[in-house]
């Protein structure tokens, strides 16, 4: 599903140059649940942003679902993001003046789905994350866990190939974190490819494979025994 070869990325700040990714190679197959770990500054978020086409690599090859991602203009990048990717953020990033249902249907709006079908599909995903009865609430009326579940429903709405989660449990307490992970595991069980960036060991061990980053290089990439989040709830 994802193939990355020799990925480099540096940031330039004035005369200083910061080499963040120094040659990343890794593949993700369809249906995998991968966690990317590393201390802060290791480059894990940069990697995720490049995978999410929010940022561009300086060098290297990135192939997503057999489509080479290279020299995109913003219009095509937006189209690819809409078709291929679903984002889950640490701070949820829901639009605060839109109801849960409207938030979930946004990717479908940008995809050009008709209003009626959009609402049906958004409702379907809200049901999936167990928030059907909250569909008309604003984000401010939801708890942190609920917000993240709305965000997950939104990421799923356009039926993307890959879910990218950037510290999805970073703003949640342990119990809610496990609930969210349980949901993510469930989605993965249905065959969706998911990448999770985290710095929490217990969260990482709920995935099927851990990629460890340090100073812009992968120092360890190994499959792990998946711990079911439901065991903790």
């Amino acid at each position: 599903m994802i193939q990355i070869k020799d990925l480099h990325k540096s940031y330039h700040m004035g005369s200083n140059s910061l080499h963040v990714l120094k040659g990343i190679n890794f593949d993700v197959k369809e249906g995998e649940l991968v966690s990317i770990m590393g201390s802060s500054g290791s480059g894990k978020s940069t990697l995720l942003n490049i995978l999410g086409m929010l940022d561009e690599a300086d060098e290297g090859e990135y192939i997503l679902d057999n489509v080479p991602i290279k020299n995109l203009n913003e219009k095509i990048a937006a189209k690819y993001r809409n078709e291929f990717l679903g984002f889950i953020f640490q701070s949820f990033n829901l639009i605060n003046y839109k109801s849960a249902l409207d938030n979930v249907s946004m990717p479908l709006y940008y995809k050009g789905v008709k209003r009626k079908e959009r609402t049906e599909r958004a409702m379907h995903y809200l049901e999936k994350v167990g928030l059907a009865q909250w569909s008309h609430h604003l984000p401010s009326e939801l708890s942190g866990g609920q917000k993240q579940r709305v965000a997950i429903a939104r990421a799923l709405a356009s039926d993307p190939k890959v879910l990218l989660a950037d510290e999805p449990t970073g703003a949640l307490d342990t119990k809610t974190s496990y609930e969210v992970m349980e949901l993510i595991q469930g989605i993965n069980d249905e065959g969706k490819t998911i990448l999770v960036v985290t710095h929490e060991d217990d969260i990482a061990h709920m995935t099927k494979r851990i990629v460890n980053l340090k100073d812009g290089l992968i120092i360890d990439d190994s499959p792990v025994e998946q711990i079911r989040a439901s065991a903790h709830v």
């Binding site: 942003n49 999410g52 929010l54 940022d55 913003e74 219009k75 937006a78 189209k79 993001r81 809409n82 078709e83 984002f87 953020f89 990033n93 639009i95 003046y97 839109k98 946004m106 990717p107 709006y109 940008y110 995809k111 209003r115 939104r154 356009s158």
Partner: protein, 419 residues
């Protein structure tokens, strides 16, 4: 471009911060209100001043005789002469492009002595000897009966058409006017019609205290013979009387043996020239109105642009999220543009409506308070309203342009990182 979804998006965004939306809109509202009011006031001033010209056909001049100032062909200077009825035919036949040439004679005048009687009632009125076409130069509403006709002229009938002021002065209420006789300077005239000025302003009473009789009758009854007091000459539409008047003067000087270089012998008042001058003045005033109004409006537009910039800045993260979800730069841009456009047009419409309301109130007050000097019926035409709307649309787009561009300038990754 304006789908229902887009409407929802825009209304949601505008509703998200109502107070700010209101304040932003107020700038444009105020600007367009001032613009429309300024133009309406200019128009009111124009209406007031041009009303002093009455309804008289504006492409006209009045021409009378004065003493000669130069000796010519053996005739001394300081000689008085009079136009003759033959001059009218000469002018009509020799000078093209003239629409009406009306010879006139007058008896009585403002603050004159009593000159008209009917039974025991008397009054001082202005009596004019006129030709039928005079009503085309000076429009008036015939209330009863008719105006002077050519058969009156030919038969030198002693008939008259009297103004409402005359009726009031000489008749009892509800009394039948047509078919009665009034005595003008001792001569009996049959009343065949009554009139009032179509659009009288200020001079209404004087106009209404007027009696029209056939020109030929006037000459015979009041001993004027062939003499003509003065002439009212109107040129055809599209040809200015100002450009023709010198020909008329030259002809008159020739016919009355006046030195062609004698500037004093013929007096005239060029209504068209005066009217043009006033019109020019008001064109400039309108221009000033547009200019000042547009400047005020511009500060409102800058306000919108400014606020939209802040809105874009505040919503940087939201815009980042939208782009992560697949919003193309154009869809973001067009949303910002449309927000600004709708805000501008909406507040502009309210501004125009408010200005219209103020104008309406002004007119009611004017109606109740009676005529005011040099000011009447402030109003704007639909043309002005459409112009204002076009200005609004253009400026709404302009106001949104910079913010819309700045909204998509940032890379999505940076936008998402913003708190």
């Amino acid at each position: 471009m304006f789908s229902r979804d887009r409407w929802d998006e825009i209304l949601e965004a505008l509703n998200a911060n109502k107070f700010r939306t209101f304040l932003t809109a107020f700038g444009v509202f105020w600007g367009i209100t001032i613009l429309v009011l300024l133009l309406a006031l200019t128009n009111g001033l124009k209406n007031g001043v041009t009303a002093d010209f009455g309804d008289f056909a504006t492409n006209s001049m009045f021409m009378w005789t004065q003493g000669t100032s130069k000796p010519y062909k053996g005739l001394p200077k300081g000689r008085y002469f009079s136009y003759k009825i033959g001059d009218v035919a000469a002018i009509k036949s020799e000078i093209p492009n003239l629409k009406y040439v009306s010879p006139r004679n007058q008896l009585g005048g403002y603050n004159g002595a009593n000159n008209v009687t009917r039974g025991t009632k008397t009054g001082a009125f202005e009596i004019y000897g006129d030709y039928p076409e005079f009503i085309k130069q000076q429009p008036m509403d015939i209330l009863q009966g008719r105006f002077i006709s050519y058969s009156d002229i030919e038969a030198k009938r002693k008939v008259c058409v009297i103004g409402t002021g005359v009726v009031k002065g000489l008749y009892d209420k509800e009394e039948e006017v047509l078919g009665t006789y009034i005595k003008v300077n001792g001569v009996n005239f049959l009343v065949v019609g009554t009139f009032k000025m179509s659009n009288s302003q200020g001079d209404g009473e004087q106009d209404a205290s007027t009696i029209y009789i056939p020109f030929t009758t006037f000459g015979q009854a009041f001993n004027r013979g062939e003499n003509v007091g003065w002439m009212a000459i109107t040129a055809v539409d599209g040809v200015s009387i100002t450009s023709l008047k010198q020909q008329v003067f030259d002809l008159m000087k020739f016919r009355h043996k006046v030195d062609p270089t004698d500037e004093r012998a013929i007096g005239h008042f060029d209504l068209s020239e005066q009217f043009e001058r006033i019109n020019g003045l008001f064109s400039i005033l309108s221009l000033v109105g547009y200019f000042v109004g547009a400047l005020v409006l511009m500060s409102g537009i800058i306000g919108i642009s400014n606020i939209m910039l802040i809105v874009v800045k505040e919503r940087t993260k939201e815009i980042g999220v939208r782009r992560a979800l697949g919003a193309s730069p154009w869809s973001i841009k067009s949303q910002i543009l449309q927000e600004s456009l709708i805000l501008t047009i909406l507040s502009g419409m309210v501004g125009i409506s408010f200005a219209a309301f103020v104008i309406w109130v002004m007119n009611i007050i004017l109606d109740n308070a009676g005529p005011v000097d040099n000011f009447a019926n402030p109003s704007v035409s639909m043309q002005v309203v459409f112009t204002a709307l076009i200005i609004l649309i253009v400026s709404g787009v302009l106001a949104g342009l910079i913010p819309a561009n700045s909204a998509t300038k940032m890379k999505p990754v940076d936008a998402l990182r913003k708190e």
